[in-house]
């Protein structure tokens, strides 16, 4: 399926947000996910199915002042 992830076109076979995050090895990282402009919390990740054309953001804390 074709998605936009972090602003770039990507293909994935993941069926849910949880699987998508896992496919990057980020399941234990402190990341936050947004789907189509709406934040989805970790406990929701299993329940949200990936659909073609979704816009997904995966963000985290970085150094900043």
């Amino acid at each position: 399926m074709k998605l936009m992830i972090n602003g770039k076109p990507e293909e994935t076979t993941a069926g849910t947000v949880a699987e998508l995050v896992e496919s990057y090895g980020l399941e234990e990282a402190l990341v936050v996910a947004e789907v189509n402009g709406k934040i989805v919390y970790r406990e929701q990740w299993n329940g949200i199915r990936i659909q073609s054309g979704m816009k997904i953001e995966i963000v985290h804390f970085v150094g900043g002042g």
Binding site: I5, N6, G7, K8, E10, Y24, G25, L26, A29, L30, V31, V32, E34, I39, Y41, E57, I58, V59, H60, F61, V62, G63, G64, G65
Partner: protein, 259 residues
């Protein structure tokens, strides 16, 4: 003047807020953080780099329970973007504090007063503890306070310039009129800038580049820590007033051989 600094219901024993950007490496960063004894650390929110998703991340090195995390909205160009970043930051579960930072000029990174005001208002309404980074405009700082900011953070000088307190007078007006804590943020170059801010009565100082890019960040963190204490203590001690003419510090009594 309260002896204890409290923001968003949290008591802070250190008045030193430290940024986490631009250190030469994580080891130096951690040593600097440790040496600083800061309680509040700032961060930015960015996309995970999915090419190297498991690379070294900053939070691997910082124990969340030891600090208050203050994520910022850097990168936002307007209130909408700032609100979006703030929500993402909060969704991490790490903190409901947010530093509103809406910079619109690439050369100066100075904030936009109108958008900063809007973002602050919206985020306060959403329950955030909002600490807006702002110019040193006393009226704007008062407006931010009225809007519900938990503290105001006027800049000493543009971010990363190290120019020190460009307008101590305005900062002192802001402090004089504020009913919320005033944290001087950005533009600090060295320890004397920090002392000067604290002597004006600031409740704290937030800095990043002055430590991270010093030749020796760990020692500079130490310098800043002592500068905070020196400045606060001097403020509380009631300095002597300035006089045009001299007064002897030695007893003026009876000088041998004059009689």
């Amino acid at each position: 003047m309260k002896e204890v600094l409290e923001i968003g219901g949290r008591r802070l024993d250190s008045r030193f807020f430290l940024g986490t950007g631009r250190y030469p490496n994580p080891f130096v960063q951690n040593e600097a953080i440790r040496e600083s004894e800061a309680e509040v650390l700032t961060f930015a929110i960015r996309r995970v780099n999915l090419e190297v998703p498991r690379e070294d991340t900053i939070l691997q090195h910082v124990k969340a329970e030891d600090f208050v995390f203050l994520p910022n909205t850097s990168g936002a160009k307007n209130a909408d973007e700032a609100v979006r970043i703030a929500r993402l930051a909060k969704a991490s579960g790490l903190s409901d504090w947010i530093k509103v930072e809406i910079s619109v000029n690439a050369k100066t990174l100075l904030h936009d007063p109108v958008e900063t005001l809007k973002a602050t208002e919206r985020l306060v309404n959403e329950g955030f503890v909002v600490l807006p980074y702002t110019s040193d405009d006393p009226v704007l700082c008062k407006r931010l306070e009225e809007t519900g900011a938990a503290a105001v953070m006027p800049g000493a000088a543009p971010i990363g310039t190290g120019l020190g307190l460009l307008n101590p007078y305005n900062l002192s007006l802001i402090i004089e009129e504020a009913c919320i804590p005033v944290i001087v943020d950005a533009g600090i170059g060295t320890a004397s800038d920090v002392v000067q801010a604290m002597e004006l009565g600031a409740d704290g100082v937030l800095l990043n580049t002055a430590v991270a890019k010093a030749r020796d960040p760990v020692k500079m963190a130490k310098a800043m820590k002592y500068a905070i204490v020196a400045g606060r203590s001097a403020y509380l001690s009631g300095r002597i007033s300035k006089k045009r003419y001299a007064t002897a510090s030695s007893e003026t009594g009876d000088f041998p051989g004059e009689g």
